[in-house]
């Protein structure tokens, strides 16, 4: 059966993509950001995941206001990097895993999560920047990726609680898939940032680090934090952090039916700033 071996969490700032693509990684401004991902690159070479289930949000790229799915799972064979107005990022196309994705969709919809199934979607920096940070600048991504898009743009966005429960349903779905796959689940977006209005530039180091602590030790409690706390404390775009709860909910220590042990924190990183944003990154191994 397929197993979730680890969860990976990371911010997905567009400027990080630009810095990578324009060869600025050696600049003093960017060096500490990329240094925070050296561990992940090495670790992934050892882990060799078969599939990454990547939770992200679209930023008015694939989804306009014509159709706004709360949760959308990609079941396509491949996805092209999107042109977000500066031309597509020069990164490999993303290869999907239609079979596993369809299996997860079927299982999770039957568990009363009302997914939208997507077979055509260009993927923006929300998906490609995490891939670049964790896998590096490669000619081809090392494994297939299942994109899972969450609406965090137009309110109401799904609650932290809903995201956490969804993570549990995704774990159950993956573990019922009858091929022995090593699956990682990634939660992306955040940490504190605000891109709009006179309050733009807000960063809350303390809140971010408390979020990381609770994500590790008390995800159930964390899942009950209401949206307004994210907005007030972590900036309007800090709401992206609810997506991390999906990945966290898929870990075995919060599985009620077959409770695993607390995950091992393999890596933790925090840095301010990358452009307008605080960068957070965490790797948890399942036990």
């Amino acid at each position: 059966m397929a197993q979730i071996s680890a969860s990976v969490f990371t911010s997905h700032v567009p400027a990080i993509g630009a810095a990578l693509d324009l060869g600025k990684t050696g600049e003093d401004y960017w060096k500490p950001v990329f240094a925070g991902y050296d561990f992940a690159k090495q670790w992934e070479k050892e882990q060799k995941p078969d599939v990454v289930f990547l939770v992200f949000n679209d930023h008015a790229t694939a989804f306009s206001l014509d159709m706004i799915p709360t949760f959308a799972i990609g079941t396509a064979a491949e996805y092209q990097p999107a042109d977000e107005g500066w031309g597509p990022r020069p990164v490999p196309k993303v290869i999907g895993h239609p079979k596993l994705a369809a299996h997860i969709a079927q299982s999770v919809i039957q568990d009363d999560f009302d997914l939208t199934i997507v077979n055509k979607m260009d993927v923006d920096h929300g998906l490609t920047v995490p891939l670049s940070l964790v896998f590096g600048q490669v000619d081809a991504w090392p494994c297939p990726v299942i994109p899972f898009a969450v609406n965090v743009v137009q309110y109401p966005v799904p609650s932290g609680r809903r995201c956490f429960m969804l993570g549990k349903a995704i774990r159950k779905a993956i573990e019922s898939y009858d091929e022995p796959l090593n699956v990682q689940i990634w939660g992306t977006g955040g940490m504190s940032h605000q891109l709009q209005g006179p309050r733009a530039g807000l960063i809350n180091r303390e809140w971010d680090n408390a979020f990381l602590d609770k994500l590790i030790n008390d995800p159930d409690g964390l899942s009950k934090v209401p949206h307004i706390d994210y907005v007030r404390e972590a900036g309007s775009e800090g709401i992206e952090l609810v997506m991390w709860l999906i990945a966290r909910g898929a870990m075995s220590d919060v599985n009620e039916t077959k409770k695993g042990n607390a995950p091992t924190v393999r890596h933790r990183f925090y840095h301010v700033p990358a452009s307008n944003t605080a960068v957070g990154h965490l790797i948890l191994e399942n036990n």
């Binding site: 567009p14 400027a15 630009a18 401004y29 930023h59 008015a60 790229t61 306009s64 206001l65 014509d66 042109d83 977000e84 107005g85 500066w86 743009v153 137009q154 309110y155 109401p156 504190s192 605000q194 891109l195 709009q196 209005g197 006179p198 309050r199 733009a200 530039g201 807000l202 960063i203 809350n204 180091r205 809140w207 209401p226 949206h227 307004i228 907005v231 007030r232 404390e233 309007s236 775009e237 301010v272 700033p273 452009s275 307008n276 605080a278």
Partner: protein, 129 residues
């Protein structure tokens, strides 16, 4: 309208909810159209004429012409959509965000390098700093 909105007391912040989305629908869809190179070219060639193709309010059109992002947001614009205007103008996300704060580009960049805007005094409208 009876949407429950617990988020109206956060200073300098507009939450893009169903009401804002309805108000800003055509403004945001106009922005979305700028993801195509041919539309960017047509917009640049004659901004007013391009805007007039969209059923936007006069205030919305003027706010776009003025590149007044705060005003665009108050009229239903969402930052991820408005960013397509910035991309058309060759602006980075940091330049766009900074332009809404009343700071110069350099001041904003410096503030970010020094750890960003503090949340202290910025949680509630009217709160003492």
């Amino acid at each position: 309208m009876s949407l429950d909105k617990p988020y109206t007391d956060v200073p300098g912040t507009t939450i893009f909810d169903a009401d804002m989305s309805r108000m800003g629908y055509h403004l945001n869809q106009f922005c979305m159209s700028l993801m195509k190179a041919e539309n960017r070219a047509r917009f640049k060639a004659n901004e007013r004429a391009y805007l007039d193709e969209w059923p936007m309010s006069e205030e919305q059109k003027q706010a776009v012409l003025d590149r007044d992002l705060n005003r665009c947001i108050s009229l239903g614009g969402n930052i991820y959509f408005l960013a397509k205007i910035g991309a058309t103008d060759g602006k980075s996300f940091q330049q766009m965000a900074g332009s809404m704060t009343g700071m110069t580009e350099e001041q904003y960049r410096d503030m970010m390098v020094k750890g960003g805007r503090s949340v202290e005094g910025n949680r509630y409208t009217g709160e003492k700093k």
